[in-house]
């Protein structure tokens, strides 16, 4: 019944099947919205965060999701600035993913702050020394950029394009996309970095504190690199997943390989720098502030295994897989590596957000634990559901994978 709205030349499941697919996600979204409403109306006591665990699941989610969403700007950069035409196959999908990740992150941030109505104060009384100001600025600007990038994809929908003004606007906007890709790249570099800086500047938390270049702690650069490595892998994973779920061939295999290779190169650089950074931190930064690094790893369950996992298991291993042409060509290896990369980025964000806060600083402190409340979990899942829904609708009605039509030809 809705075929007239779909991209010509591709097939999608029946509307009823689609309905069955989105229904559970919509229910999850509704539950999350209810949880968010509880937080708005009753306050953040609905969460299990507290004065000591001032950040919880949501900030972890924000950091992870934004790292994964880095694929949008990075692909845009590769396509529009470096003219890597073969990645055009995934650029639309990347933009939608980016939009989903960033808007989801901003939405959850609005629930996370105690006084969302005052969020605009950051633009009015900005503290230029705060990493969070930089993050807020860049993320809000970049979300606008992503929206503007998403707009042409929507306007090109088969029905919408019949409106002449939409069509003309889309056409003119598309011509300027290179500017937006450039702006998006600058913004993303900064806020991905600043998100890392967010923790790296915490001089009161020697577990997170890092020395760095000029005003930026080393985590600033590590975050950029890890996000750059994770972005393509996330696109690779989602593309593969969508392809599995929809049972369609969406892109040519070379695209997968290309994404994997780009990710691999960045990942190996990241892993090396991360190793150097960790060594400097263990031998210099941390002990200089009165905290021998070994003591961080005495608290169960955060033993040294977490360092090993971060650097070797989720860093070196996938980098090697992705850099090897033979392994990369194998779909199973490629996907394993992509999962490891995305998991590694999540683990890195987890360590910085959760472990930092769990570790004691005062001598009479205890090691703290934290388990999110159902409201936090529901809001978290709602963001996932929101992403799935936006992506599902986009996939159904918009032209996310230009190669699909050709690949669908008998």
């Amino acid at each position: 019944m809705d075929r007239g709205y779909m991209v010509r030349g591709v097939t999608r499941s029946s509307f009823s099947k689609f309905l069955m697919w989105i229904l559970p996600w919509t229910a999850l979204l509704a539950l999350g919205l209810y949880a968010a409403w509880l937080c708005f109306s009753r306050g953040l006591n609905q969460t299990h965060m507290d004065n000591r665990f001032a950040f919880g699941l949501w900030i972890f989610l924000d950091l992870t999701v934004i790292a994964l969403g880095a694929g949008a700007f990075f692909t845009g950069f590769l396509v529009y600035i470096l003219k890597k035409e073969e990645l055009k196959a995934v650029i639309n999908s990347a933009v939608v993913l980016g939009f989903v990740c960033y808007s989801g992150a901003v939405a959850v941030l609005m629930v996370d702050v105690g006084q969302p109505l005052r969020a605009w104060f950051t633009f009015w009384h900005p503290n230029v020394h705060s990493m969070l100001t930089e993050v807020t600025f860049c993320i809000s600007c970049y979300l606008a950029v992503l929206f503007i990038e998403y707009l042409p994809i929507i306007l090109k929908n088969r029905k919408l394009r019949q409106v002449p003004s939409f069509l003309v606007f889309e056409f003119e906007l598309h011509k300027l996309m290179v500017v937006l890709a450039g702006v998006g790249t600058i913004l993303s570099f900064f806020h991905q970095g600043s998100l890392g800086g967010l923790y790296g500047v915490l001089r009161g938390r020697p577990f997170a504190f890092r020395e760095g270049l000029a005003i930026w702690p080393s985590t600033f650069f590590l975050f950029i690199l890890s996000a750059l490595a994770a972005g393509p892998c996330f696109i690779l994973l989602t593309t593969w997943l969508v392809s599995k779920i929809s049972r369609k061939r969406l892109v040519r295999p070379e695209v997968f390989s290309e994404l994997g290779q780009i990710s691999g190169i960045l990942l190996i650089v990241y892993t090396l720098l991360k190793t150097v950074d960790t060594l400097v931190w263990i031998n210099g930064t941390s002990p200089a502030r009165g905290f021998p690094a070994y003591q961080y790893y005495q608290w169960k369950p955060f033993g040294t295994w977490i360092l090993f996992a971060e650097i070797v298991l989720f860093g070196l291993l996938p980098a090697v897989i992705l850099l090897s042409r033979r392994l990369r060509a194998h779909r199973g290896w490629l996907l394993t590596a992509a999962v490891l990369v995305c998991g590694g980025v999540a683990l890195n964000r987890f360590v910085l957000t959760i472990q930092t806060l769990a570790l004691p600083t005062l001598p009479f402190d205890r090691f703290l634990s934290y388990l999110p409340s159902w409201q936090e979990t529901a809001a978290f899942l709602a963001i996932v559901a929101y992403g799935v829904l936006v992506y599902s609708f986009s996939f159904r009605y918009l032209n996310l994978f230009p190669q699909e039509r050709e690949l669908a030809r008998p």
Partner: protein
């Protein structure tokens, strides 16, 4: 408003741990002075608001050698690279150059809690609930201090209302500087043991400056380099180690006990 204090002050405290019996008078006086509401029914030691919090800390030894010390921890008023000031995205935290007091503007705060993550002393508190007083008790609020709403961060500001009042009194008396003892925070006044000494650390002759120079004086997490203005005094050597990093044993014992 122009500051009537011409000379730059650096207000600080010296807390004698050997005199503190953890009676809680300082915490009470602080909450009463600063209109901190009573705990919400579900509040815990991790969600409550105690601008000044007295911790109990023990040496981890077995009976009868186990000993405890009570450590009152207000905002440590860090004087250098104040961790909470630089992180606030909207300038809701500032250091008053005239007094060195780290101020918090709850009406500017959006409740992002970044400052709480930044503070190594956990001296910042978030309003997880609306501030509610039992019926009628709102009549007992201090008119010099405004109440805070849900969703913002607050903390010790060395009883800013009292500083204000003291300055007004001084100005009324035609003076532009405060005399020692004219301005003391509520906890200092309330402490029955006189364990807390308050004053201007810049004034070499003040008692607080004299005590801060004593060899028994130390500051918590001094190596972080944040130059807190709260000094602690103790003659008990195991307590002294609180300021150093080798008390892991005690930590572990407390946690895994």
């Amino acid at each position: 408003m122009t500051t009537p204090t011409q000379k730059k002050s650096r207000y600080g405290m010296v807390i004698d741990l050997d005199r503190c019996n953890g009676c809680g008078a300082c915490m009470m006086a602080c909450a009463v002075e600063n209109n901190v509401p009573p705990a919400h029914r579900e509040a815990t030691d991790r969600t409550g608001i105690t601008w000044l919090r007295v911790y109990r800390f023990n040496n981890g030894l077995k009976f009868p050698n186990n000993r405890s010390v009570f450590v009152p921890v207000p905002c440590q008023q860090c004087g250098r690279e104040t961790p909470c000031v630089s992180v606030c995205p909207q300038q809701a935290v500032d250091v008053d150059p005239a007094t060195g007091v780290v101020g918090q503007m709850p009406e500017r705060c959006l409740g992002c809690r970044y400052c709480m993550a930044a503070c190594p002393y956990h001296a910042r508190y978030f309003n997880w609930w609306d501030a509610v007083w039992p019926p009628g008790m709102e009549k007992t609020l201090n008119p010099d201090v405004s109440t805070r709403m849900r969703g913002v961060v607050e903390k010790c500001n060395f009883c800013h209302g009292r500083l204000h009042a003291a300055r007004e009194r001084a100005a009324a008396a035609g003076r532009d500087t405060l005399q020692p003892g004219e301005y003391v925070p509520a906890c200092v006044e309330a402490c029955p043991a006189r364990a807390i000494v308050f004053g201007d650390l810049n004034d070499e002759t003040s008692e607080v400056a004299r005590l801060a120079r004593r060899p028994e004086a130390f500051r918590m997490l001094e190596q972080l380099g944040t130059e807190p203005k709260i000094y602690y005094l103790t003659r008990q050597s195991w307590v002294r180690k609180v300021s150093e990093d080798e008390v892991q044993m005690a930590r572990k014992d407390q946690t895994h006990g």
